[in-house]
């Protein structure tokens, strides 16, 4: 383990050193370095700092093609928001206020907020402590635990929910939602924190200890401070995931804004009520993102420098070893064992039921087709937006990038209805209920995930290579294809995997846009689950887990290697 890590570090260090040297070969090493540093500052959202002349000059040189591509991508992304505003303006502000100001809204708001607060706090605690134990202590079997605690990432929330709720009626309502969602999404905190801990500079901790500060206080004041950005980034993802979740809460009988939006579509023939509620959700999502940006702007960098990466001394667990091991076993058992075990149990004990449905193979193929296509589309679309926001950073391009995150808070069903609306009104129903429109809906809903991955990778890739390419007379597109894209290839792979993972379980948009007669794994699972045909639902759950395992492994490897500077930013 140690040997491998050291080798990896060495590679990383060589890489960084290589970039430096390459910079030296061009005439303006200092300028290139400064520019990178300035861009980094700009990325971190400290708007108060005036943009330097260098970055202004850069932003003036935005290639028109890139700008058009970026604006086009974001325009498509904002279509659902435009749809919501169109619906709202159709009924008038007073009527929208009336639709929102219903007796149920207060309880939905309470349900949504208390769940977000409790689950986010639990995930932060579990994710951070687990990451610290794996990365910084002499926990026996660290390598195995490092994989096992991340695997739940591959299990869809509604499968976790199904696994628990089908076994025990205790798992329902608020307590059920807290339990299920904590177990389903804590890896969103664990992954970035583990990456940040690995690359954090241990010198600060050592200095603190040598100055006589105790272990606990050092942990609280130094270690937590170093990974703060990663913890917060993970928490925002957890909060957004909770806002958008539908399937898990439907199974648990827990009502949030998202489940109610779907109910509004189901019972009242009333797209307007659903749209009004969705606007509330968009506001909540924007608040989460704004909080993130505000806190992050004040944050400290996670380490003193890119070369200060070395193995930290591992803390001895001592007498705590057994309880910690038991805690890890419990976590993995609850998050991984119960959903998988429960699905396997139902395969054998579920009995035979009357719904025919489609075959696993057919549903699996369509799931892979839709999710794979959406992943490809998103990854391609994320490149221009990431390039604009990092390589040509100014307020406009950063706003362009930020605004794309809003779609995370818009439920899939709203994205679907928006596409139906625009397709019917402006394209004569073009592509309606066809694969391309469904793929587009998937791509819109999951675009921020691709952007996060591509952006993190691009932020780490030195701009000087691109400048060398340009100075050698290469055209912009050639530089993009031959320099930039190979540099960010791991980020592209992570983007593909993340979007694939997120869309494999998509349910609400799929039900509306899927071609007639076709089922995905998720829709077929849902149809069986709704009919309480657990025996037939379970194989679909297991195939979903299987199909999600590969990309989630890729994603976790990606976070393993990505230095904290990149991960700490958005994810």
């Amino acid at each position: 383990m140690t040997e491998q890590r050291t080798a990896e570090q060495r590679t990383a260090e060589q890489r960084t050193a290589g970039q430096r040297t390459a910079g030296q070969r061009t005439a303006g090493q200092r300028t290139a370095e400064q520019r990178t540093a300035e861009q980094r500052t700009a990325e971190q959202g400290s708007v108060s700092e005036a943009p330097s002349s260098t970055s202004r000059r850069l932003s003036l040189r935005v290639p028109p093609g890139l700008l058009v591509a970026g604006v086009a991508v974001v325009a498509v992304l904002l279509a659902p928001l435009a749809f919501l505003l169109l619906e709202a303006s159709g009924v008038g502000a007073g009527a929208v206020a009336h639709l929102i100001w219903q007796p149920l809204t207060a309880s939905l708001l309470w349900n949504t907020l208390r769940l977000v607060v409790v689950v986010t706090a639990l995930c932060a605690a579990i994710g951070t402590l687990a990451a610290w134990c794996v990365e910084r202590t002499d926990l026996p079997g660290r390598r195995a635990w490092a994989v096992l605690v991340v695997v739940p990432f591959a299990i869809p929330d509604f499968v976790v929910s199904f696994g628990w709720a089908s076994l025990s009626t205790w798992v329902q309502g608020f307590r059920g939602a807290v339990l299920v969602m904590t177990l389903a999404v804590y890896p969103l905190v664990y992954l970035p924190v583990a990456a940040a801990l690995r690359s954090a500079d241990p010198a600060l901790e050592e200095a603190s200890r040598s100055l006589g500060v105790g272990r606990v206080r050092t942990f609280l004041r130094i270690t937590l401070g170093q990974v703060r950005g990663a913890v917060l980034g993970g928490c925002v993802l957890v909060a957004l995931a909770l806002l958008a979740e539908y399937g898990a809460f439907e199974i648990l009988g827990y009502h949030t804004f998202t489940t109610e939006i779907f109910t509004a579509f189901q019972v009242s023939f009333d797209v307007q009520t659903a749209s009004a509620l969705s606007l509330v959700l968009v506001v909540l999502g924007a608040v989460a993102l704004a909080l993130d940006a505000a806190v992050r702007g004040k944050g400290r960098t996670a380490r003193t420098g890119p070369l200060a990466q070395r193995e930290a001394t591992r803390h001895r667990l001592g007498r705590a070893r057994v309880p910690v091991l038991a805690a890890f076993a419990a976590l993995v058992g609850l998050a991984l064992g119960v959903p998988v075990g429960s699905s396997v149990y139902w395969v054998f004990e579920g009995g035979v039921h009357a719904i025919a449905g489609v075959s696993l193979l057919d549903a699996g193929w369509h799931t892979a087709l839709y999710s794979g296509s959406a992943a490809l589309l998103d990854t391609i679309a994320a490149v221009p937006v990431a390039l604009l926001s990092l390589r040509h950073s100014n307020r406009a391009t950063r706003l362009l990038e930020r605004s794309s995150y809003v779609v995370l808070a818009i439920p899939g069903v709203v994205v679907a209805f928006a596409l139906v609306y625009f397709s019917e009104h402006y394209a004569s129903g073009f592509a309606y209920q066809s694969t391309p429109l469904l793929v587009l809906a998937y791509a819109i809903g999951s675009f921020p995930l691709a952007l996060v991955a591509v952006r993190a990778s691009l932020a780490h890739a030195s701009v000087s290579f691109e400048e060398i390419g340009r100075s050698l007379g290469q055209r912009r597109l050639a530089v993009l294809a031959r320099v930039t894209l190979p540099l960010v290839a791991p980020g592209l792979a992570a983007a593909l995997a993340l979007v694939f993972l997120a869309t494999v379980t998509e349910l609400t948009a799929t039900l509306i846009l899927i071609p007639t007669g076709v089922q995905t794994l998720a829709t077929q699972f849902w149809a069986y689950q709704k009919n309480l045909s657990y025996g037939q639902a379970a194989p679909f759950a297991l195939v979903i887990i299987g199909i999600a395992a590969v990309p989630s492994y890729l994603v976790s490897r990606y976070f393993d290697r990505l230095p904290s500077r990149a991960t700490g930013r958005r994810q």
């Binding site: 370095e33 439907e250 827990y254 109910t263 025919a356 019917e424 007669g517």
Partner: protein, 378 residues
């Protein structure tokens, strides 16, 4: 912050590390290459096939086909479609969903809706589409097959099957004598913590409409508030009749309001020996004793009206009604044709004593939704 980073960078670049820029990168790519390339190739192949597939999907052959939007249970729809395809040779493409979502979708699709036929679990969804002028007249011969009071008042849709709202109860938790006989008693505080109902189920709305018609808006509202108080202590909210039936059966809650076929469906799924619950009817002509009609309609926008009308004709024909009555369709509804009888439900259709609300009075369910919303249940 940026300054600190930059200084650190400078300090770092002066370090004693070897400078071999071109060697470290290929090594890294080589390590990741196979996985990445594999993913890319797979995805590219998937996309290629996807585009190819949509190009060819438009010509499924010379066989005639219609598209059915079905809000009915999948098993029932599948059994009817299989019978129809066998009898006529016309292919039916089925799109299953929740009836109201499908109705929303047809409204959004407008004149370009791909649907030829809509098959709904309840009449309000059909009345809603009718009020928007989206339904075509049903052939007179088809309407003549069924009792008039279970068809669209305007002749725009035809009733196919019917069922009735009942109570499901667990005798271990509540005795039959303790059960309410009138739907109004559901608001009685003595049932606090014992009653389960799903406000979001389309099957519950007709009861609200019936109570509204019998007792007026104000009384209905306070009744709903009483019901809400009775379920207030629950840890979770029921969203479907399936989960209510299941939870009553396994003793999680004492009794609930459902449509009777859910109880028969559960019995068929889990076997008679696992059934620990029973069903009970409200008092004759009580507003809670509502007949819900499941029906079908041809869309005005349909380009295959003749074939679509044949599907409707098949649904109410002897063979179609036999499918509803047969256990393989998992329907457990009453065939609308009085000539066809069922073994389950056991109580014959003509011995039901429902309240006297008509499908016209049930309307599109909007007033019920408004009442449920005002009471804070939706």
């Amino acid at each position: 912050m940026g300054r600190v980073d930059a200084q650190a960078t400078f300090r770092g670049s002066g370090g004693p590390l070897p400078s071999r820029p071109r060697q470290s990168r290929p090594a890294r790519c080589g390590h990741r290459g196979p996985i990445r390339a594999g993913v890319l190739v797979a995805v590219a192949a998937a996309l290629g096939v996807a585009l190819g597939a949509c190009g060819s999907a438009s010509s499924p052959g010379s066989r005639q086909s219609i598209t059915l939007y079905s809000g009915q249970h999948q098993q029932t729809t599948d059994a009817l479609v299989a019978g129809f395809e066998k009898e006529t040779g016309i292919t039916v493409n089925v799109r299953s969903g929740t009836e109201d979502t499908l109705a929303d979708q047809i409204v959004a699709e407008g004149a370009r809706s791909p649907a030829d036929v809509i098959y709904a679990e309840n009449s309000p969804a059909l009345e809603h589409l009718q009020s928007k002028g989206l339904l075509a007249k049903v052939d007179a011969g088809t309407l003549a097959k069924t009792p008039r009071n279970y068809d669209s008042p305007a002749g725009d849709w035809v009733g196919v099957s019917a069922r009735v709202s009942v109570l499901v109860y667990n005798p271990a938790l509540i005795s039959r004598r303790e059960l309410p006989t009138s739907v109004l008693q559901l608001a009685n505080p003595r049932y606090k913590g014992k009653l389960a109902f799903a406000a979001a189920e389309t099957d519950f709305q007709p009861i609200v409409t019936a109570v509204d018609r019998a007792y007026g808006r104000t009384a209905t509202l306070s009744w709903l508030e009483g019901i809400k108080a009775n379920v207030a202590g629950f840890t979770h909210t029921y969203t479907t009749d399936e989960t209510i039936t299941n939870d009553v059966n396994r003793g999680e809650v004492a009794f609930g309001v459902i449509n009777q076929y859910y109880w028969y469906r559960l019995r068929a799924e889990i076997g008679r020996s696992n059934v620990h619950s029973r069903i009970a009817y409200f008092a004759p002509h009580d507003p809670g004793y509502v007949i819900d009609v499941s029906g079908a309609a041809v869309l005005e926008s349909s380009a295959h009206k003749a074939a679509a009308q044949r599907f409707l004709a098949y649904m109410v024909s002897k063979s179609g009604q036999d499918v509803i009555a047969a256990s393989r369709s998992f329907s457990f509804e009453y065939p609308i044709d009085s000539g066809v009888t069922t073994k389950a439900p056991e109580l014959p259709f003509d011995r039901l004593r429902p309240c006297h609300i008509t499908v016209g009075e049930l309307g599109d369910g909007r007033s019920a939704v408004a009442l449920l919303t005002e009471a804070g249940l939706l």
